[in-house]
Structure formats: C-alpha cells, structure tokens
C-alpha cells in the first residue's frame, strides 16, 4: 500500500479511537476492479466453495463496472483482524473517506450485540468449507455435488437467525448421535455400529415428538435427521453456518451504514482542505441520494436525529406526553447525544432502531411525509418494518417431522397478510422432498384461504 495511504490510515485510526470507537486491527488492501468483482461475488472472501452462482454474480459485477453502472468503492469483512478492500485508482480523498467508513464498520462489528455470537475466523472457515466441497466433488463427482448444492441452497434462508443465541436447558437438547470415529470404510460398521433399534417394550409408549418444539432452523434439523450421506449433511451444515454468518449483517444494514456514514463525515470534515471540500460534498451527495430506498441515507439521518434529540433533551415521559406540534419546539439541554449514539450502536438492530426512532416528527422534518399524509404514517411504517423482519423473508416453521405418523414433514408459513411466491415455493418444496425422501407439506394462505402445499404426494 502506498506510503500516503498508510499515513492516513494511521491518522484516521487515531482520531477514530480518540472519538471513542474501538475496533480490532484493520488490514487494508488495494485491489483492481476485477478482483473487487470477485470478492463481491464471494461475499467478501477470497475463497468459497465451487458453485456457478458465484460465477453469475461475478459476471454481473464485472459487467456493470465495465459499463460504468456501478462501482464498489470498498468491501469490509467481519473477521479478526478486520479485512478491508479498497478499489485501486480511487482518488486519495475517496480512499480517506472509505477508510474512515471502514473503521466505523469495524467498530460496529466489534461492539454490536447482534455480532457477538458470530465466529471471527470466517476467513479460514470459508476456506475449509471450500476444501470440504471440493473434496466431496472429487469423491462423488462434481455434477452430483453441484446438484445437491443447488437443492440445499434453495433452503438457504430457512434458518433461525436467533439460533446462535439459543441455549436449551439441559435435557431439552435433542439427542445427538454419538461421535463417529474416522476409520477405514471396511472397519466402519464395527467401530461405529448403527444405533440399536428401539426395544419392543417402548413401542406402545408415545414417542417424543420430533422436533420437540416447532423450529425455524430447518437446515439444522435436516443436517441432523435427514437420511443423507455424511458429505451431504456436511454441505447442509456449511450452508447453514454461512447463512448465520451473514444474517446479522442483513439485520443491521441500515444502522451499520448509517453509523459508518456518520463517522466518516465526523472524522473527515475537520481534515478537508478547501480544494477537497467540493469533491467531498459531491461524494456525500451521491452516497446520501434520496433515490429509492437508500439505507445509507435513512441510517445516517436517523442517527443524527437521535443525537439531536438526546442533546436537546427530547426524550423521557415529559416529552412523550407532548402533542406533536409542541414536540418539535421542545428543548431541555442535556447533551447526551453522543452517549446515546454509542448505546444505539451497541444494542440495536434495524428493526427496533426504526421501530423506536422513526417517528412522525422525523418523517415530517425530513420531508418524507406531508402533514396531510400523517394518518397514513403508521401504515407506511408497518410496511417498512414488515419488509425488514426476518431479513425480508417469510417466516417458516417446521412443526412436525412425522406428520400423520408417516414420516412426512409439516411446515407452516406464519402468514401476515403477504402471500408467498407460489412458483418458487413449490420448486423449493420439490427440493425439500428430494432431500427428506418423504412427502413434505407447507401450510400457508393463498387467496385469503388456508391451504396445504405439498410435494411428493
């Protein structure tokens, strides 16, 4: 990396830490556009398992860059140390802005509670996943592994984003199969005998329900209970683990980008030379453009709002009790803005962040809403929050793995007024049927009526 960049990286780090941010070391690396396209396709990592989907993404990023339609300035990966990629050939000011931005992301990864259970060694995890899949391809044929990957990837969103936090009480945990020892194949039946069949006497007793309680962690359930080869279960585990790794990033997109934008602005503004001011303004305007749904803009404006409210004492029961018009004029100097911001960064994800701070006052002040539209605010907010729930995916639960005592899967969609894409859902159910080996059913609502979608019957 150039000397000048290194100098700025150090300087910005000092200023960030002085301002109260705390984060592990950050490794910056400059990469060209093709490499950036590759990293973006691979979700920030230099190595992933072989799959055509990455090739398709790579092509898209590469071509949109070539035609000047999009430009990825920076990529930052939640690992320890934090790995960040800068696009080579950016102006010095752009690189400075991006580095300050990256430091704030690093602080967010490090301190936000949603990221607490996420492993920090994903760089090597991903490489191991790649090696596992490649080995499976060598042994079982690239095409058959790819076919399995295609099926498994269509279940990629059927995870429980909260799974890493859940600690079951003792005895509640599902019984795990005993560890298997790795031995040569011919010894396997002797060293790792198949589990004993249930005794006659137990047959009359009602078996424990499976799963013991409804679960959203379908991938995890399949990896434990589906009749699959070890390599297939391994792939399910891999996909589940990677989905869980990306889940908190999806759940904090607005807050995280807002936080990074807030800090690069704070850190850089006092350092700008007059010549740089215009370029900075231009970049900032592009970043915060009110075009479509812009998480940078919404996050940044909301954080500024929070800071202002807590600086001016616009919180607490006294404030809440005021009618709307008077709230806008209320003032009670407290100066707790910065403190509140750090609290928000630590304990919030997008959903509660918007729920709490996206108020009618804010919408009015930012021109998101005209006063006549005020009655529609609640509905608009509800729609927005709905789209952020569960990373935007429908909530699907596994109710029973022995439906009708026939070993069939019964899933249920938690219908909240928005129906499923039937064509895609049916394709997914077909895949699920092939994995499970027995018919599968999904309870959902179509055209206002409750229906049971099935595959394999």
């Amino acid at each position: 990396m150039q000397k000048e960049l290194r100098h700025w990286a150090g300087l910005l780090r000092e200023r960030a830490e002085a301002a109260g941010l705390s984060f592990p070391p950050v490794l910056f690396e400059e990469v060209g556009p093709e490499e950036m396209a590759m990293l973006a396709a691979y979700g920030g990592f230099p190595r992933r398992y072989p799959h055509w989907r990455f090739g398709s993404e790579y092509l898209r990023y590469r071509e949109t860059y070539r035609y000047g339609l999009s430009r990825i300035y920076e990529l930052v990966v939640n690992t320890h140390p934090v790995q960040a990629y800068l696009l080579r050939g950016n102006t010095l000011l752009a690189q400075k802005l991006v580095m300050a931005h990256v430091y704030a992301h690093a602080d967010f990864f490090h301190n936000n509670l949603a990221f607490k259970p996420i492993p920090k060694d994903m760089l090597s995890e991903m490489a191991q996943h790649a090696a596992f899949v490649e080995r499976a391809m060598e042994r079982h044929g690239a095409r058959s592994v790819e076919e399995f990957l295609d099926m498994a990837l269509s279940l990629e969103n059927l995870i429980d984003p909260h799974a890493p936090y859940i600690r079951r009480e003792e005895g509640e945990e599902e019984e795990r199969p005993p560890e298997r020892l790795r031995v040569r194949p011919y010894l396997d039946p002797y060293v790792n005998p198949p589990p004993e069949p249930p005794k006659e006497a137990q047959e009359g007793a009602s078996p424990k329900p499976l799963p013991p309680r409804p679960t959203r962690d379908l991938l995890g359930f399949l990896a434990r209970h589906a009749p699959l080869a070890p390599w297939q279960k391994g792939i399910l585990e891999i996909i589940r683990e990677e989905s869980l790794y990306y889940a908190p990033q999806g759940a904090t997109k607005i807050l995280n980008e807002g936080w990074a934008t807030y800090w690069h602005t704070r850190l850089l503004l006092p350092l700008l030379t007059p010549e740089e001011a215009l370029e900075f303004a231009e970049m900032q305007a592009g970043l915060l453009a009110a075009q479509g749904f812009n998480p940078y803009r919404l996050g940044y404006l909301l954080l500024k709002e929070v800071e202002e409210r807590w600086d001016k004492g616009r919180f607490g029961p006294e404030y809440e009790a005021l009618p709307l018009g008077e709230r806008l004029r209320y003032e009670r100097p407290t100066g707790e803005g910065r403190k509140k911001l750090f609290q928000v960064r630590t304990v919030y994800t997008d959903l509660p962040f918007l729920e709490e701070f996206l108020t009618p006052e804010f919408a009015l002040r930012q021109g998101l809403l005209s006063p006549e539209d005020l009655p529609r605010f609640a509905e608009a907010k509800r729609v927005l929050l709905f789209r952020l729930s569960n990373l935007g995916y429908p909530i699907v639960e596994l109710l029973d793995a022995n439906h009708g005592n026939r070993g069939e899967l019964l899933l249920a969609h938690a219908y909240e007024g928005v129906e499923l894409d039937l064509k895609k859902t049916k394709a997914v159910l077909e895949n699920l049927h092939r994995l499970w080996g027995r018919p599968v059913h999904l309870k959902t609502v179509v055209g206002g009526k409750e229906v049971l979608l099935s595959a394999g019957t």
Binding site: M38, A40, A41, G43, R47, P50, H51, W52, R53, G55, S56, E57, Y58, L59, E63, E146, D150, L153, S154, E156, N157, L158, S243, Y246, Q249, G250, K253, G292, F293, N294, P295, L358, A363, G367, L368, L369, R376, F377, E379, A380, K381, V383, L384, R387, L388, L391, G392, Y393, P394, V396, H413, V418, E419, L420, D421, L422, K423, K424, T425, V428
Partner: protein, 347 residues
Amino acid sequence: MRPIERDLLRFKEIVRGEVKKRAREFLTREEFFGQVEGRLVSIPLPQLEVPKIVHGEPPGEGLGLGGAGAEGMGPGGHVPVAELELEEFLDLMGEALRLPRLKPKGEGEVTEEAFRFTTIARKGPRGLRHVRRTLKESLKRALQTGEYQPEDPLLVPEREDLRYKAPRSKPRPHAQAVVLFALDVSGSMREEELRLVKVLSFWITLWIKRHFPRLERRYLLHDAEAWEVSEEEFFRAREGGGTRLSSALLLAEEILKRYPEAFYNRYLYHFSDGENWQGDTPLALEALRRLLPTLALYGYAQVQGPYGQGRFLEDLRENLGKAEGLATAEVRGREDLPAALRRLLGG
C-alpha cells in the same frame, strides 16, 4: 485458474446448455427477434436462479420511506440474464437444430485487410518482445565480438538485439453472398402463414450471415407479376390476385445479374402456397433449370394452412428432385419450422 474463473466457466456452460435446450422455443418466438439484432444476445433465464421461499406480491409502497430489501440477505435477487455473443448463440442454435454449415462456392473479389503478427521488428512494446529472436541476435553479437564463452554461455541482450513481433497486413479474399427472398402474395397467403415466412427468413438470413459476413439482401413480391420491395414492405400482410411463380423467378434472374456468380454465393428463397396457375408451372420449371446451376441454393418453402392444396412442391420434386442446390420444405404450422429451416439451408 482462479476459482472464480472456474465458477464463471461453469455458469457459462450451464447457460449454453440452457440455450440449446430451448433452441426450438427461441426459433418460433418472434418477440425474441429484437434481442438478436445486436452483437450481444441477452436471454432472460429465470431457471438459472436458485428458487427460495419468498414473498410474492410486494406489500404497498410506504410513502417517502421507500421499500426495504425485499431480497433479504446475501447476493442475488435479480433474474439472471445470460449474455452471449451473437455468433456463439447462432452456433448453439445450429448445434441444437442440426443446421448445416454453408460452404462458400469460390472466393470473392472483395479482399479484406487482415493483420497477422507474422514479422519481426526492431522496435515495439515490451509485451510483444520475441525472446528467442532477441537471444539469437544477442548470441550473434557475442560470437562476433568474441565475448561468448561456451563454458559460461551468458547472454545479455542489449538494446540493438531486441526484436519484437510485428503485424503485417495481408489481403485476404472474402467470400460474399447475396440472398433474395421471394414471396407469393396471392390471396391464399394469410396472416399466420406470413408469420411463418417471417420466422423462416429471419433465421435463414442470420445463418447465412454467420457464414458470409458480407451479405446483401433483396426482397421481391409477386402474384401474377413480380416487383422488388424493401425489407419492411416485404413483411406487410397484403392480398393480390392470381399466382404465376415464374414471374418471381424471372425477376430474380434479372436482379441476380448484378451479383455475378463468380464472386457471389447466391441464395434464392421462395415462399408460396404452391397454388400456381395452370400452364405456368412448365415456365417456372424452365426458368429454374436455367437458374439452378448458378445458385448456391434455391430454397422453396410451401407455406400453407392445414387445408392447403398447393401442387408446386410435388411438381418441383417430380421434375427436379435430383438437381443439386434444390432445397424444398413444406410448412403447415409452427411445429414444422425447425425441420423446414434445416432443409431450406441444405441439411
């Protein structure tokens, strides 16, 4: 190879397989023609998306708050669009539909400048440095000056030794072709038949162009008389009177005089319902006997509805069935198109 290149290759392989699988569908879908015009063909391939359980209709827009990531986490969410070079696309179609390769008849008069790196220069960019030649020069110099020692054969090229690959322009004869489409517009050709003609002539043109980049196109219409028209007029539905197929052939002969057979691969395609006036068929056959040896191919497609009664196809096959350069096909509906296309191209 970097892993991403491997993934990209696999993706392209899947795209190609998908295109071949759907070749017949592409063949008959006119709305697809617009996409084949340019140098790049883009084909939406929704089947190249990993399906997921997602919400269907997005919930209503939320004022100025915008809509949030309906795609959820991770990459993806767009309908995959495969982009292929037109040539590659045509080759895949040709493979899937077993279209024959067209062989040029003789060389054209037009020459094309082709640059080939066949010569050596003393100056050039570093990337084109010719290592072997450079070292050879270096060796020569070392031998001359006596610096060369066989036991320690160290060669240090100097500026004067450097040699580079250099281009040389080479005139290359280029095969040319002309294709002439003749269409019978007598009363019996209806909208649906005209559409089949359009599909056939569209793919015939592309396929010939694939082999002869310099392709001239001419169009003529006829009922009892024949007249030349522009491409746009050719595809406009219209009705006329009786039918004399010979009129088209005579006009074609006239037009083709401007494209001497020595320099051009001449293709003539004739679309008709085959209901010729009695007495005209011998005239038409006679014109054809004259014309056939000078053509690369005469393709006659009898396009008629399910109840068509045209006879010209049979007459043609009876009288000239064995003649070289004659390709005939009968088209009664969309399902006949792939086979007809293959036959009309001489396959």
